[in-house]
């Protein structure tokens, strides 16, 4: 079982896809429930995987490796065979992200019950996207990574374009074009690596770049080469993350896509960028990463402040949250740029934490939108009165987002800054301005919704129902759990972190 556990996990949503394909499209309830169960299966499997995982070891675990494609290249004197394998495996980091994915997917599936119409295709796309996301984190081969990476793109395009709001198509296209550009750069990078080294396996690549030798290379590729590859990676994942000024697509997506899709998008998809930067950028090119760390730190601070400043004046709560995502991804960059235990750990924490928090926030925005039909802050006021539970969770989520201790956001913020202050204190000090600004825009938005006088026409709003409570409470519970006892998460990623950081010379 263990030999193919990961494959089963990654492809498990397909089971529900098949079932859905043969369910008549007018059976609303059964379609929704099948969709939900389709996401529960990977969750169960992810938990099983977690149980099988030995957190003490930094090695890639639960490996699967099958020969897949091999290219034979006619070289000057001999033919060289360059194999591409189907390789899955997890380390602490990817395991955590797989868990996050499967949890958020379940909750987003619950949130999807309010989707209007065409549930069949909706859930099919939804589940296909989950396959892509799980695969991205489980693959151990760049080729496979890329395939899964793109696999998230298409369903997302459909989910935005079909079930979104007014300007959904424009949003879908900008999503597609920006991410297409990013993945295109990624593809070039991967091919270049493949042609230079003859392998696409993470471990082998890291090894080659660390020690030189094997593969097609007689020597380790030059400094300029590595640096340009790293910058290309930064650019490619920068679109995903997103790094200012490559962020405009994300705003549109956050505004136009249906809330459960944004939960997934903001909760998981953006994290692929961070995952890629950590696994490939830092994993393969530690020395070069060190060289550009200062620029990354600057980028991080720019992201942080840029998003925060603009979020202050947004009138649409979705836009506030969208810019807040930009801002929070700046913290990931800040953590990575620190290049020490604290910083990188903080970045990873931020990845997870922001995944949970933004999923929660967007879930709540979805709830509000469903009840009021608008997302403009002006249209909201005093919801505590009629929706005390929703308001309470919203305030809690907002506080988590602005980094209140006891919630996950604080831990990641603390560690990221802790890290950066060690290496680049001045940049970090500028960045702390973001902590204040985050409070400003978050409170502004959250309090505009919950506090203040309740207008007459909002008198009949209904509070969270049982189905809506599940995602809200589960996410809040996770946020608080990590915030109260962060070592729970810290232990899982510790050995992976150590192995990444060993590339920087300890």
């Amino acid at each position: 079982m263990n030999e193919i556990l990961l494959s089963i996990l990654v492809f498990s949503p397909l089971l529900a896809v098949v079932v859905l394909a043969f369910t008549p499209s007018n059976q609303e309830q059964s379609l929704k429930w099948i969709g939900l169960f389709g996401t529960l299966l990977p969750l169960v499997l992810a938990i099983i995987t977690f149980c099988q995982f030995d957190i003490g070891s930094s090695a890639i675990q639960l490996n699967e490796k099958i020969n897949w494609i091999s290219f034979t290249i006619a070289h000057t004197d001999s033919n060289v065979t360059m194999p591409i394998q189907y390789e899955l495996g997890v380390n602490g980091l990817s395991l955590v992200l797989i868990l996050l994915t499967s949890v958020v997917a379940v909750l987003a599936a619950i949130g999807s019950f309010t989707i209007k119409g065409q549930w069949k295709s909706y859930f099919i796309f939804f589940l296909l996207m989950e396959v892509g996301m799980l695969g991205v984190f489980a693959s151990q081969n760049l080729f496979l990574f890329f395939i899964f990476f793109e696999m998230t793109l298409i369903p997302m395009f459909f989910l935005i374009g079909r079930w979104g709001y007014e300007n959904k198509e424009k949003a879908a296209y900008s999503f597609l074009i920006y991410n297409g550009l990013g993945s295109a750069i990624l593809l070039i990078v991967f091919v270049v690596l493949f042609m230079k080294t003859g392998t696409l396996n993470y471990g082998e690549l890291a090894n080659i770049f660390a020690n030189g030798g094997s593969g097609l290379l007689d020597s380790v590729p030059g400094e300029t080469f590595r640096l340009s590859i790293l910058i290309a990676l930064l650019l490619a994942f920068g679109v995903k993350l997103p790094i200012v000024p490559l962020h405009t697509w994300m705003l549109r997506v956050h505004v136009e896509a249906p809330p459960p899709v944004v939960m997934i998008h903001s909760g998981i998809l953006l994290k692929i960028g961070a995952y890629g930067l950590i696994t490939f950028g830092m994993g393969f090119f530690p020395a070069e990463f060190k060289r550009i760390a200062f620029s990354i730190a600057i980028l991080g601070v720019v992201n942080l402040l840029y998003g925060a400043f603009i979020a202050i004046v947004q009138t649409d709560v979705k836009k506030v949250l969208a810019y807040s995502s930009v801002s929070h991804m700046g913290i990931v960059l800040i953590g990575l740029a620190a290049l020490n235990d604290a910083g990188v750990q903080g970045a990873i924490f931020q990845v997870v934490s922001h995944g949970l928090i933004s999923a929660l926030l967007f879930f709540l925005v979805g709830v509000l939108y469903e009840r009021t039909g608008t997302s403009y802050l002006k249209a909201y006021s005093g919801f505590v009165k009629t929706m005390p539970l929703a308001s309470g969770v919203l305030v809690a989520a907002g506080l988590a987002s602005l980094g209140l201790p006891g919630m996950s956001g604080f831990i990641s913020e603390l560690m990221s800054f802790l890290g950066l202050f060690q290496t680049k204190p001045i940049v970090a000090a500028v960045g702390t301005l973001g902590i204040i600004l985050t409070a400003v825009y978050m409170l502004r938005a959250v309090m505009a919704i919950t506090y203040g006088p309740l207008s007459a026409e909002r008198g009949k709003l209904v509070d969270l129902n049982v189905r809506e409570m599940v995602p809200a409470y589960v996410l809040l519970a996770l946020i608080i759990a990590i915030g109260v006892y962060p070592d729970m998460l810290g232990m899982t990623i510790k050995s992976t972190l150590d192995s990444i950081l060993s590339g920087f010379g300890g």
Binding site: T72, H75, F157, K168, Y173, I177, A184, I188, M195
Partner: protein
């Protein structure tokens, strides 16, 4: 030369060509003898059977080594096997497509169409399996002439007429230019056998006329680029693809284009492989930047102008210009992966593009318009067709899990293998992203728009088969590409490509 020597050749090796020839002859006779009002549709089945037999014959010969007849005027080698396979499969699928082309029902020239399709195929096959300039030229012209006529066969249709005329004029000019270049190549070597030319060009004495040689190369290249519709000889393609009947468009964009690549690789590569250039470098390396620029320009022009198209056929015409630009890359950079990259991409392209045209035929026949809006709301009307179309389009756009992705991957690999052509890969990437606009526009029409027309699109058997085959192949090649690649590596030993038969 004695009759004995002629007899001594293994003529059986020509079986696929002979089968096609026979089928074509029988078809033309049958068409002549059949009563006027009788439907010619079922001749398609016969033609299809002919192609199938040829395919079987080809498979039976797969294990043979290099066989040469009459000083390489017919040469059976791995290269010819590999590409004849593509031509046969492509033509077979197009025949099935034509079988269901309802629009052609009113024309009484269906019989001729099948016949011409087979002769065009024959021309293409000869282009693949000859190493003699004259045979190559005649094969090329056979393909061209048949295509001209096919394009204009729907002769009461003004667009068809105009397409055919534009095709023939541009074709004539390209023929003249190609020949003009060939005449110098012949003149500088005095040979028509490609390997003899290769030999002669390797001779240092050629250095006296190095510039003329390069000019001859470029002139020939530009002339041949007509067939593959790349810059600078690409402008005819949209008009012709637009005006021609859909099966013909499919043929032109797939088989004819593949044949163009075949002759390009066969003729230019074999002859010039050892030729010296102007400076120290070999000629092929010297012209590399120029070819790469042309490839890049094709991608840019094709993808850009496709953005503005409202007519679906025309859009895919521009798309095919861009695709040709991609396929040109491995040739332009002469990479060690050239054969498999080109072959695999052409194979993938065959399935995806024929699939696209199959669905275009289906959908436009229903709506009576080739405007892109006839795809609006297709998903609601016929979800499976929409899904198939999506797969094809995604494949053309190069998304993973489809054949197009693996093809593009191979092309990237070749672009970055020998002397990393980052800028070319960059153009390819950038234009690929641009292409998302129009490819996804089709998808957007199908999925996001509300339908303008009601009613399901019914799928006739032939198109169903074609679509099914294409979808399955696109996916299989995308997910399990090693099936095709291993077949390629096992069956085709392309080291024999550059060496003359002993």
């Amino acid at each position: 030369m004695e009759l004995e020597t002629i007899r001594s050749y293994d003529w059986g090796i020509m079986a696929p060509e002979l089968i096609i020839l026979g089928a074509a002859t029988i078809l033309s006779l049958a068409d002549l003898l059949m009563p006027k009002k009788a439907s010619r549709r079922y001749l398609a089945i016969f033609a299809f059977l002919g192609v199938a037999c040829a395919l079987v014959a080809l498979f039976m010969q797969l294990d043979n080594g290099v066989i040469s007849i009459l000083a390489d005027t017919y040469r059976f080698d791995s290269f010819s096997k590999a590409f004849k396979l593509l031509f046969l499969i492509g033509t077979g699928l197009i025949l099935l497509l034509a079988f269901d082309d309802r629009k052609g029902e009113r024309d009484e020239y269906r019989g001729e169409f099948y016949y011409l399709l087979l002769t065009a195929l024959l021309g293409a096959m000869m282009m693949a399996s000859s190493a003699d300039m004259i045979t190559l030229f005649v094969g090329l012209e056979l393909l061209s002439l048949s295509s001209y006529i096919m394009a204009g066969l729907r002769k009461r249709d003004r667009q068809s007429n105009e397409a055919a005329f534009k095709y023939v004029v541009n074709g004539g000019i390209s023929t003249a230019i190609t020949l003009f270049g060939m005449s110098y190549i012949f003149g500088l070597t005095g040979e028509t056998n490609l390997y003899a030319i290769q030999n002669a060009l390797g001779d240092p004495t050629i250095l006296q006329n190095q510039f003329l040689l390069v000019f001859a190369f470029l002139i020939t290249f530009v002339g041949l680029s007509f067939k593959i519709a790349t810059v600078p000889f690409q402008m005819w393609a949209p008009d012709v693809y637009h005006g021609a009947p859909i099966p013909v468009t499919a043929f032109l964009s797939v088989v004819s284009k593949a044949a163009g690549f075949v002759i390009m690789i066969r003729f230019l590569l074999v002859t010039f492989i050892a030729a010296p250039g102007v400076a120290e470098k070999p000629l092929l390396q010297e012209v590399q930047p120029y070819l790469a620029i042309l490839a890049g320009a094709s991608m840019i022009i094709g993808n850009l102008i496709a953005l503005r198209q409202r007519n679906i056929k025309r859009m895919f015409a521009y798309s095919s210009i861009a695709q040709a630009g991609y396929i040109l890359v491995p040739f332009a950079v002469i990479s060690g992966l050239m054969f498999e990259a080109v072959w695999f991409y052409l194979l993938a392209y065959l399935f995806m593009n024929i699939g696209v045209f199959a669905i275009i035929q289906l959908v436009t026949a229903k709506s009576g318009s080739t405007d892109i809006s006839s795809f609006a709301g297709l998903y609601r009307r016929s979800p499976w067709i929409a899904v198939c179309m999506t797969i094809f389009v995604l494949s053309l756009a190069g998304f993973p899990a489809t054949a197009g992705f693996i093809g593009k991957f191979g092309i990237f690999m070749s672009a970055l293998s020998t002397g990393a052509h980052y800028w070319l890969a960059g153009i390819m990437i950038a234009t690929t992203v641009v292409s998302y606009f129009y490819y996804f526009n089709v998808i957007g029409q199908m999925f996001f728009r509300s339908e303008e027309e009601a009613g399901k699109v019914s799928i006739p058997g032939g198109v169903l088969t074609v679509t099914a085959v294409c979808v399955i192949s696109t996916l299989v090649l995308g997910i399990l590409p090693h099936t095709a690649l291993e077949f390629f590596y096992n069956q085709f030993d392309l080291s024999q490509f550059f060496t003359p038969t002993k």
